[in-house]
């Protein structure tokens, strides 16, 4: 399978990715999409947990069929190394010598046990940019807590604020994997720029919880300034009314509407053909905020027998912020996501031609170019021979030791 990408933005940048699950792989995929050479290390002795994560290709579970692996390892070179094997660790050290950026996401302590922790690696290669990412960070009483992004969302006070005031909180799956992964990419490239200018490498300790808390900073300040503990509150938002999700024709079809200005309210009333503007309960934003239940009931009565996309079009034409609530099956059909080519087809060694998400940055001169996703150990030979310059005998010896499993 071809390993050609036209992406040039990060051509020449070399990345060693030993991370697993979502944060690290997704962060490094962005680099790969923009042309960096990313070597992804996996081991069949330690199967990536997200290989068990849905959605699966054509709905059939299987470790080679999980979107959670396919979508975040595009354009990478896949090598298998069992790091509990000494020969494998020797190969890893050679990859450290080769790379600019190395990332790991083991539970803190594992890399120390193998003598592959940042101090050892940076002693070997002083200008290395080394990133460790885990749930709670490399220091502190909870450092060894294994974790996943759902627990991260719990620890970052995000689950507490998701859901209905009168119900238990909802769940945002592995939410902090997504908030934190961007910060990993940003940290890696900012450090790379610093190294280019100064020659200085560094160690980056990124706690997924700490990197995610800024995403709810206003709620944190609401506590530290006003003393208010933010709770989940349905779809209510101060300063916006109506602000919510309203039923439409069909099963589980909804329209999201959010209004902040009086002009938008007038426009909505016009589209709805309702005399709400002269209703004392709904005249001003303050009036509407006083009568939210009645307002929501009135809007719902108007939307209930309409088609979600029709309401969206009519309201947007009138300048009213509104959108059909797309469900998971709708994503691929959205005209705007298609226009920006958010989903693109690539070649998978296991599954053939399949759609994946594209990186979310559109660069005008040097765009990303996702092309392929490999399977377990598929690039072993390329990595050992082409990148590390090992010969047949050396490769055979490494393989015979069981290092490549």
């Amino acid at each position: 399978m071809s390993r050609e990408t036209s992406a040039t933005a990060l051509a020449g940048v070399k990345v060693l990715d030993t991370s697993w699950a979502l944060v690290g792989p997704a962060a490094m995929r962005v680099l790969a999409d923009f042309g960096a050479t990313v070597v992804k290390v996996e081991s069949s002795t330690r199967i990536d947990p997200v290989r068990a994560g849905p959605p699966f290709w054509k709905g059939e579970p299987g470790p080679e069929r999980s979107s959670n692996v396919i979508n975040y390892n595009v354009n990478k070179r896949m090598i298998q190394l069992d790091l509990s094997n000494e020969q494998a660790r020797e190969v890893l050290l050679q990859l450290v010598d080769w790379c600019d950026i190395a990332i790991e996401s083991f539970v803190p302590g594992v890399m120390e046990r193998w003598d592959l922790h940042d101090e050892a690696l940076r002693k070997r290669k002083p200008d290395l940019i080394m990133i460790s990412t885990c749930l709670n960070g490399q220091t502190g009483p909870d450092r060894t807590g294994a974790g996943y992004g759902t627990g991260g969302a719990a620890r970052a006070a995000m689950i507490e604020v998701l859901g209905w005031a009168d119900r238990d909180p909802s769940l945002a799956r592995a939410y902090t994997d997504y908030t934190a992964s961007r910060m990993v990419t940003i940290a890696a490239l900012a450090a790379l720029d610093h190294r280019r200018r100064t020659g200085e490498g560094q160690y980056i300790d990124l706690s997924q919880v700490e990197a995610s808390i800024p995403f709810i900073a206003p709620a944190v300040l609401d506590y530290t300034v006003n003393g208010r503990v933010r709770r989940r509150n349905g779809n209510r938002e101060p300063g916006a009314a109506p602000n919510g999700v309203y039923p439409c024709q069909g099963e589980d079809r909804w329209i999201a509407i959010e209004l902040r200005t009086q002009e938008e309210w007038a426009a909505l009333c016009g589209v709805a053909g309702q005399d709400w503007e002269s209703d004392a309960r709904f005249r001003t934003l303050a009036d509407r905020e006083q009568h939210l239940d009645a307002l929501d009931a009135a809007i719902s009565a108007w939307t209930a027998d309409q088609v979600d996309h029709d309401v969206e079009s009519a309201l947007q034409r009138a300048g009213v912020p509104a959108h059909a609530v797309l469900d998971s099956l709708d994503g691929g059909n959205d005209a705007q996501l298609q226009h920006v080519r958010h989903f693109v087809e690539i070649e998978s060694s296991d599954l053939g031609t399949i759609p994946v998400e594209r990186t979310r940055q559109r660069l005008s001169r040097t765009p990303s170019d996702p092309r392929w996703v490999g399977t377990y150990g598929e690039d072993n030979d390329y990595v050992l021979r082409e990148l590390l310059g090992l010969d047949d005998a050396a490769i055979a010896e490494i393989a015979a030791s069981g290092a490549l499993e």
Binding site: P55, A157, R167, D193, A324, V325, S328, D330, G331, I354
Partner: protein
């Protein structure tokens, strides 16, 4: 010296740009945030100090404008645009969230910028993009959450989809834009050229669905919201449970990596008298197979989940996390914002920083740097600026003398000049 200290950022301030500008500022770049007459719309988001709405009291503003400098400037006036151009002559990055239909008139369309400022990295953050069928759509949090498919996966099955009670859309989009800025900066070192970087709230939030937005294209079936958990085929997996003093994330998960701690959790539950021998015998590493094939009735899995629920209800958050440490489980207590401030882990890592906002007689705690950098530690120094607080300083740096500044102020081109 902080990482990005050699670089200058011009931000055309709005709700859309605030987070991205803050990330670049936290990394050490010098950020001038350009505010329209009367102040940025990012000053008009709740919560407010003492709940009194005011452009100098928005905690949203305080959160995402720390250590930026504010220039009050009306770029809809030709002389305002001339000042902006002088700023951009010296800038490495422009961060803006201008609506597509206003871009050309302001000279902010991509071709014009590329021609006039070839080294500039210009990032656009919009709901849907600067072109395409929905480029003209109005939208903020709810609209872009809805358009990303993410909203449909949040909430309870018997109610409408529900959002997070803290805005997320332009935080996600801003982070994506910052990624794009860093990619473009790396590229510029080789080519000497800047470029246009686009990020949108719709695509940024779509990424956060954990691939469920691809379900249709993957022929993988719909993904339904389910309170406190997620639905996967016939399985409704609960992940959040009430406990004595709040909630915990503690669920029964499958597979080679998460199955073993689930097995240990089930053993603990049974040892504590909340489960029976048939539950103890389940192997969660492989259990999903028989459940999906129908060999094992779903009711049996639900019986195990009921045992989890009962076990959680009998313990406190601290007890549950102590079990997690002792038995190597994957249990995390659900924190509130109040809990975060005293969280031992965050305190031990000196995460919280202090800020002294204008209008408040005391220092407050604010989130610290998003990562620890060994060679170039990030520092959070100050507070968010008042409207046009740095207008005089910035205009002076640009070479405008006192008379010129006075003239610009008199004509309403700049705001905040002393």
């Amino acid at each position: 010296m902080p990482l990005l200290s050699p670089y200058r950022v011009v931000e055309l301030s709005s709700e859309r740009t605030a987070f991205c500008g803050q990330v670049l500022r936290d990394l050490g770049a010098a950020v001038i945030t350009v505010e329209p007459p009367g102040g940025s719309d990012a000053r008009r988001f709740a919560p407010y100090l003492d709940d009194e709405p005011d452009v100098e009291r928005s905690l949203f503003w305080w959160s995402y404008n720390r250590d930026k400098r504010s220039l009050g400037l009306d770029i809809s006036q030709p002389d305002g645009r001339a000042v902006l151009e002088r700023l951009l002559d010296r800038a490495d990055f422009l961060i803006e969230g201008v609506d597509p239909d206003r871009r050309a008139a302001l000279g902010l369309d991509a071709p014009t910028l590329a021609d006039r400022f070839p080294k500039l990295i210009a990032a656009s953050i919009t709901p849907f993009g600067t072109d395409g069928p929905k480029a003209g759509y109005r939208g903020g949090e709810m609209v872009t959450l809805a358009a990303s498919t993410l909203l449909s996966t949040w909430g309870d099955a018997d109610r409408p989809p529900v959002r997070m009670a803290v805005p997320q859309a332009y935080e996600h989009a801003g982070a994506e834009a910052a990624v794009g800025c860093m990619v473009a900066l790396t590229e510029r070192a080789a080519s000497g050229l800047g470029q246009h970087v686009e990020a949108t709230a719709q695509t940024a939030l779509t990424f956060a669905t954990q691939c469920t937005s691809m379900s249709g294209l993957w022929e993988a079936g719909n993904f339904f919201r389910f309170g406190g958990g997620f639905k996967f085929g016939p399985l409704a997996v609960r992940a959040v449970s009430p406990c004595k003093d709040g909630y915990v994330c503690a669920g029964l998960f499958f597979g080679t990596a998460i199955g073993p701690p689930t097995n240990r959790f089930m053993k603990l539950i049974c040892d504590s008298g909340f489960g029976d021998d048939s539950m103890r015998e389940k192997d969660f590493i492989t259990y999903i197979g028989p459940l999906l094939s129908g060999e094992e009735p779903i009711s049996e899995f639900d019986r195990c989940q009921d045992a989890v629920t009962a076990f959680c209800a009998a313990h406190t958050r601290a007890e549950m996390e102590a079990f997690s440490v002792e038995h190597d489980l994957l249990i995390d207590a659900v924190r509130t914002t109040e809990d975060l401030i005293t969280e031992p882990q965050l305190v031990a890592r000196e995460y919280w920083q202090t800020s002294e906002p204008v209008g408040l007689a005391r220092a407050i705690q604010v989130p610290g740097p998003f990562a620890k950098f060994s060679s170039t530690p990030l520092t959070i120094e100050g507070r968010a600026p008042t409207i046009g607080e740095h207008s005089t300083a910035v205009l002076t740096e640009l070479g405008f003398d006192e008379a010129e500044q006075h003239d610009l102020a008199t004509r309403g081109v700049v705001e905040g000049v002393a």
